[in-house]
Amino acid sequence: MPAVQETVDQVRSLDVDQYKYGFFTEIESEKAPKGLTEDTVRFISAKKDEPEWMLEWRLEAFRRWQTMPEPNWARVSYPPIDYQELYYYSAPKRKEALSIDDIDPEILATYEKLGIPLRERDALLGIQSGGSKVAVDAVFDSVSVATTFKEELSKAGVIFMPISEAVREYPELVRQYLGSVVPVTDNYFATLNSAVFSDGSFVYVPKGVRCPMELSTYFRINERNTGQFERTLIIADEGAYVSYLEGCTAPQRDENQLHAAVVELVALADAEIKYSTVQNWYPGDKDGKGGIYNFVTKRGDCRGDRSKISWTQVETGSAITWKYPSCILRGDNSQGEFYSIAISNGYQQVDSGTKMIHLGKNTSSRIISKGIAAGHSDNTYRGLVTAHRKATGARNFTNCDSLLIGDKCGAHTVPYIESKNSSAQFEHEATTSKISEDQLFYCRQRGLDPEEATALIVNGFVKDVLQQLPMEFAVEAQKLIAVSLEGSVG
């Protein structure tokens, strides 16, 4: 309840068309030369002090990428991207930070502005005021700048570190799992990522361990003309549990910036991974200029029996979103979930959804998607549910609701359903509605102004999904919803 109130406050306190994370941090950075060649890949690998096998892996990806066409099936349009005009590596210029005190104060200040405490004592103070403990890995442009609570996690046996460090420190683990869910050859953007990824988070939760705190990565693109290609790999060993949160922002810029991440999740027998995203990349200005191209591949593999992977996403940012967090339900009795709120306003384009691939017996999946389109935006849900012929007893329930605000936006639902096993039961429900004039009138008659009323109605519409988010994120998400709908009424 107070959260809704905060939403309402937030709407009031901000001007229309104001992206509050749009600031830029003045900081010296070290970049790879512009453009993408084998040398760029070698440069990144050398910067990361990578073993030979990692470089080979990247080079193979790069060669493959050069032969691939860019996909064009999504319901989005944008001018061709000149991949030679981008920078593929940018790092704050400073020697490797050994402790939090070695981090450039400007970067610390940036994260503070974003409300992400990197100093553990700040985070600990948060506990006293009622919040729970969250370990944070902060990625600034291409490198991870800080990971908090490392020691406390390692006591539990949990590995949480930048993937660049994991490649050096736990090469066997990384080698075993990297690319095992999203193969190097998977798709154009994933292959590009495989060639040039610079950092991201690595998580390993050992057998039977319940990760003692929420893990979180905060991504920030700062540099101009820089692509961010992070790679996240999370492994929950047998019977392990981990909840992971991801947040993203970028400065306000006139040109488009590319973000092509890959996230791989592996859940072994009886393990559970809960992955939540609050994505708020810069969406472009009110005329559709600038903004992030968010072309992301996220996939989870329920590799063991009775394992469970749950994706929850709140997507409010980016000029273009192309993203389908998916689950491969390989283990018998494994479960996949996808809860999504995708909001588009202005000239944003969203093509997002999920894939639930049922391979094992008695696998079940659940999809709840809430798309909200306002302004001139286009919002597409694209989903695939399949049952392999051996997937006896597979079950899926899908519910896709779209809400339109105004009459210049579009909502589209594109579900693909394939069953090769006669015992599979798939249900699909979909609705499209507009915020009704009657609802607005009713709320306004009680004293809410048009934006407050819209925020309240929308928060009600997405409630089922908000409930899936960890508490702190739910509050943040609610605020975000209100802010991203500013200027959509009246």
Partner: protein, 254 residues
Amino acid sequence: MAMLNIDNLHAKIDGDHGKEILKGLSLTVNPGEVHAIMGPNGSGKSTLSYILAGKEDYEVTDGSVSLDGEDLLEMEIDERAAKGVFLAFQYPIEVPGVATMTFLRSALNAQRKKRGEAEISTPDFLRLVKDKAANLGINQDMLRRGVNVGFSGGEKKRAEILQMAILEPKLCILDETDSGLDIDALKVVSEGVNALRSPDRAMIVITHYQRLLNHIVPDFVHVMHKGRIVRSGGKELALELEANGYAEYQQDAA
């Protein structure tokens, strides 16, 4: 000074060929008074309530409405609410996913802010709701459910009166609050309304039937027909209508 002054109000449904619904309606309401407006279907009673609340589907073509001397027709819907205009809907609207409690609090605070008052604290708010809800037989479960979602007819009307009790408006407009109520529910709702009668609050009670007025006893009764008030009197006028029906007015007008 009169609280509400409606003078020669003409209004039609928005659009070029909109039908004129109000045709020169005048009404003066003073603080503390309860006015009942009765009349056959289609006489314009609900339209009047919507126009007072500011619904955008109508166009006022002539006349004026003032609230405490200010031009009501110039104000936004939510501004009118903050100034104390409350409409209890004949068909309350559902707002799925928004708990009734959340809705009440958001509305109350929105109004308070517009009036430059501080927000109500959580403990004060909870106490307020608990008190008012108990009187109307509204339980905690109902307060947690989405606004009007899955409410029975009677529950919807009680919820409207609860909102009214919490928002403490200056001018309450009750649009056919008795429709869809059984006799017990009618009693509860009427008691809720009566509890809100006060020397500085006025009410306009729109109804077809006398029976509501046995419970909410009006100071004045007006008969509305074809967009105008055609007769006014005391509470006994309602009894007369109950006995004779609206036939005489319908004939007069024909």
